[in-house]
Each structure stands twice: as structure tokens, then as C-alpha cells.
Symmetry: C2
Subunit: 303 residues, 2 copies
């Protein structure tokens, strides 16, 4: 079952020929959760063969242009493509102003609803839930209200041992009960315990997105142990003062958080336009947290 | 002296992997006049090596997203790049609403002025003039107020014949007077007429942009004889009814206008996403107006 991150853009605000502004898609079993929506997402999705119609929810970190200016065109294109399904957009209150303006000025007659769900960026709280996953906000600190998002699969059910089902002649109608924890009583009264009929569930997977933000060591409690952490790493550590002034993070800081939080893998992005040698940036991060990779347009990380 | 058209995008509203939404830059002696500003212009300018800081004026045809959604990001990037020079944006009144929203919501503290100049799309009138060129609006008919733009170099001055200047010992200080039409009176009273001291001026060049619009045969009076006409050609002629319904033009219609207006060259663009074989579209146009070319991202046409 898919649980994979697609990087559409991982540059910072000043555009370069190397990177697009920020956007990602977390593909959870074919449902696309978009995270941030910088200019050019449509073109990038087409290049990567990702359907715009599969996006049901968009989670916006903050209302800076390089994280939202793909929304106007994306909404229009979804309408041109004949969308009728609701589109849910989650984000800080300010994002609602953009959506209201678009609805009023460009999209008064589109054929689907765009529903805005304001997120309180000061809280670590549940912002979305369905049968498969939960999404919690992660309070961040940037130049305007900003939050990250933590995606967690719900606990999976154990796997049925097909050979045991056959051996005991258990009817197909009972399989869901057994998955849910039931044992099986044979006709002779023998009880075959749940544990003999199943193998343990696949561990549920998790992904945390943290951009844009200053270095917040306390995030280790929220993102602790996640399978993948995406964290901004706008600057080399020699520019740590600049990072603080602009409320961004260095690669060393991102890696320190990954190490302290005991995450399984770190992906760094939101590279300053001034950074030409990203491998050196990666080296800085890996010196602290070896299992670090560089984001790049088109990168897909299966979790 | 440059007078060249740079195509940044020539697709229509529905994005494809082949084309970006509409935008162009007319480079007049190093001054960049942008025409329409679809999403992705910044990335395309960087690919083409065109500096965003050289754009002084932007002319918008109409307030559909595929012609304006590059503006939000472009303005922000100009500020990040340290722009202080005024940016002038010309277009139908509705474009002003977008600029007002951006100024209020995203750009209350940028370091340069964005000045909006509303254009009456029903009139063929002067909308801009400097020492080198004039720009006139071209009334078009689309689903909301729309106009094209006609760029004309002002008449050039004649060229000085350097060898005559030397032969008659004419001081450098007199050259501008001679260019402007003066003759020269030598010390012995001989008058050397202006025509002997100069060769005729380079003809002044002209470019007309018409997109989006239904076919308007009467435009031939306005664009008559221009060096280059860019005209939308959204559809094959077999879809002429669809063109009428959506208020667009077919390649045959664009070529008919070019022929009837006696333009020197036609460039067609704004291709429907449904068109895979653009060479056939070109063939349709060339059957009526042979000197037609297809627009394409990165194309530069020197006029």
C-alpha cells in the first residue's frame, strides 16, 4: 500500500533554475494529500504523472507566496478538468483570505466546492482524520503564523494466515472479525486463538513536514520516531545568524532535531537560492544525522 | 537595435506538458515590455536568461487566470531581488482588483511601487508612449473585457554618412542637428543638403498582439501592415463552432486576418490542450498565409 512522498518543489522564495517553490504530495493508498502549493505545481505534477484530480486535501503551512501561489491556477485547472468533488484546504486563517478573493473574483461559477478549514498554528492538534490516517498540526515559528503537519497511518489490522483459514475451514465471512481480533471456535468446540490465525500487523507509517521555521528543539517530542521527517534547511550552518534573522533553519539544526527526535530518515529542502553546492549542505546534515537525503524536484520517497 | 519578441508561454488555459500559459516579452532596445503573465513566467524567464529587473511595463489582455496568475509571484520576486524602480501594469479594470488584493495581503511592505493603468478595452487608443515607442490598445472580443496591444517604434532618424562628415569637416556638435533634418553650410557658403549627408532612416518596426478573441475581420485596419502579428489560433478550423462558443479563433481565421491586413509575418499560439499535432495547425494557417510560424516556449523572433 502506497505511503510515499513526492517532491514537487523544494526551493525557497527566490526562484532559481534548479528548484521550484515548495510543494509536495503525500500519496496515501492513491489518495493525494498536497502540502503547500507554490507556483508551478501543475506543470510539475504533469511532469511527474500525478493526477490533479486525485488531490482531495491541501495542507498549507503559511501564507507566503512561495507556498500558496500555485493555488489560483490549480483550482482553475481542476474546474477545466471537470472536477465536481469537494476540495478541502487546511491552513492558517490568512490563507482563507486568498481563497475568498479567488472565489469572488475568478471562480464564482466553478462546478465544485472549495472548503477552507482554518488551522490554529499555535496548537498541536488533530486537523484531519479518515479511515486510514490522522493529520495533526505542528506549531512552528516563522515570520507569520505557520505550522507543519504530521501524517500518521492508523494502526493496521493483522494479516490473515491464509493456510490456517483453509486448514480450519473458516468461512470467508469471518475473516474481518478475525482480523479485528476474534478467535475461531471449531465445530468440535476447539478454540483456535486469534494469534494462530494471523501474523502481526504492518507497523503504521508516519511523515512529518516542518517548513518554514526557526530551529525548535522542542519539536522532538511531536515528531519523535517518525519514519520520515522533511525539514527545511535553508542555509549552511555558517549562516546560522542569518537563519535566525529570517526565521529559517540550517542543515545542522535540521539534522540535530532529526537525531534528537530519533526519526528514521530526514529529507532536507527549502534551499536558499544562494546555495550552489547542495552536496556540501547534505554533508553538514549527515555529519550529525547520517540517514539524510536532499530533496529534489521529482524525488519520490517510499515510506 | 533590438526589437524582438520572446515567447515565454503559448498554451491555453488547460495546462499541458508541451506549453505554459500565455506570456511574452517584447525587448525594445533592452527595455522589456511583458505581455500577459501566466503562471510560471519567472521560471521561464530564468531558462531564457531574461532578467526580471528589465521589465518596466506589463500589458495584460484580460483577467483570466492563464493570463495573470504569474503576477503574484513575479512581483514578490522583484522585491526579493531588490527592485526599487516603479512597475507599471496596464490592463482592463478587473486586473486592478488582483493588484489591490496582492498589495493589501502580500505586498504592503515592498520597496517599489506597482502602478496600475486601467485600459478601456473598447477603444483603439494610445496607452503608453516613450521616446522609442507607442503602445495602442486593440479592442478584442472574448468572454470578459479584453484587448490586444500594438507596439510601434517611433520614426527613426536618418543615418549619418560618416565619410561626408569627415570630407566636409563638420563638427561632431552638429551631427544631431543634421540627423534631425538640417543641412550644412560650409565656410565658403556652399550648402550641402541634408540628403547628401545622410542615408534614409531604418523603417520603424511594429508588433501586434491579439489574444484571446473571436475572429474579428475588422482588425485588419488596426494591424494593417505590421511587421509581426501574434494571433491566437486555439483550434483547428473543423472546430470553428467551438471557437465561436468559447470566443476563440481558428488557425484559418488568424491567417485570414494576417492576409487581409497585409502583415509581414504571423505567429500563431494559444493552442488548445487538445491539439497534439501543431504542424497540421500550422499547415492550415500557411495554406492561407504562408509566412506563418508556430509559437513555442523559448522562441525568439527578431523583428
Amino acid at each position: 500500500m502506497n505511503f510515499e512522498l513526492n517532491i514537487l518543489g523544494c526551493g525557497s522564495a527566490k526562484p532559481t533554475t534548479r528548484h521550484q517553490p515548495t510543494s509536495q504530495i503525500l500519496n496515501v493508498r492513491g489518495k493525494f494529500f498536497m502540502i503547500d502549493c507554490g507556483e508551478g505545481v501543475q506543470a510539475q505534477m504533469q511532469r511527474m504523472g500525478l493526477s490533479m484530480m486525485s488531490v482531495g486535501h491541501i495542507f498549507i503551512s503559511h501564507n507566503h507566496g512561495d507556498h500558496v501561489f500555485g493555488l489560483p491556477g490549480l483550482i482553475g485547472t481542476m474546474d477545466l478538468l471537470g472536477r465536481t468533488a469537494e476540495l478541502h484546504i487546511h491552513g492558517p486563517q490568512q490563507v482563507g483570505e486568498l481563497l475568498e478573493f479567488l472565489a469572488h473574483t475568478y471562480y464564482s461559477d466553478i462546478q465544485f466546492k472549495v472548503l477552507f478549514h482554518p488551522v490554529d498554528t499555535r496548537k498541536h492538534a488533530l486537523v484531519y482524520e479518515d479511515r486510514s490516517i490522522t493529520v495533526h498540526s505542528i506549531p512552528l515559528q516563522h515570520r507569520l503564523p505557520t505550522c507543519g503537519y504530521l501524517f500518521r497511518e492508523k494502526p493496521n489490522l493483522p494479516h490473515i494466515r491464509r493456510e490456517m483459514i483453509d486448514a480450519f475451514g473458516i468461512p470467508v465471512s469471518q475473516i474481518n472479525n478475525i482480523k479485528a481480533g476474534a478467535s475461531w471456535t471449531a465445530e468440535d468446540g476447539t478454540v483456535i486463538p486469534h494469534e494462530r490465525l494471523t501474523t502481526p500487523a504492518t507497523p503504521s507509517r508516519s511523515y512529518a513536514y516542518c517548513s518554514d521555521t526557526v530551529y525548535l528543539p522542542e519539536l522532538k517530542d511531536i515528531v519523535g520516531g517518525v519514519d520520515l521527517l522533511y525539514h527545511e534547511a535553508t542555509y549552511f550552518h555558517e549562516r546560522v545568524l542569518r537563519a535566525g534573522q529570517t526565521m529559517h533553519t540550517t542543515a545542522v539544526q535540521a539534522a540535530t532535531l532529526a537525531r534528537d527526535a530519533g526519526v528514521k530518515k530526514l529529507c532536507i529542502g527549502h534551499f536558499s537560492a544562494s546555495i550552489k553546492d547542495e552536496n556540501s549542505l547534505l554533508g553538514e546534515a549527515q555529519s550529525i544525522f547520517p540517514n539524510t537525503v536532499l530533496a529534489n524536484e521529482g524525488l519520490v520517497i517510499s515510506i
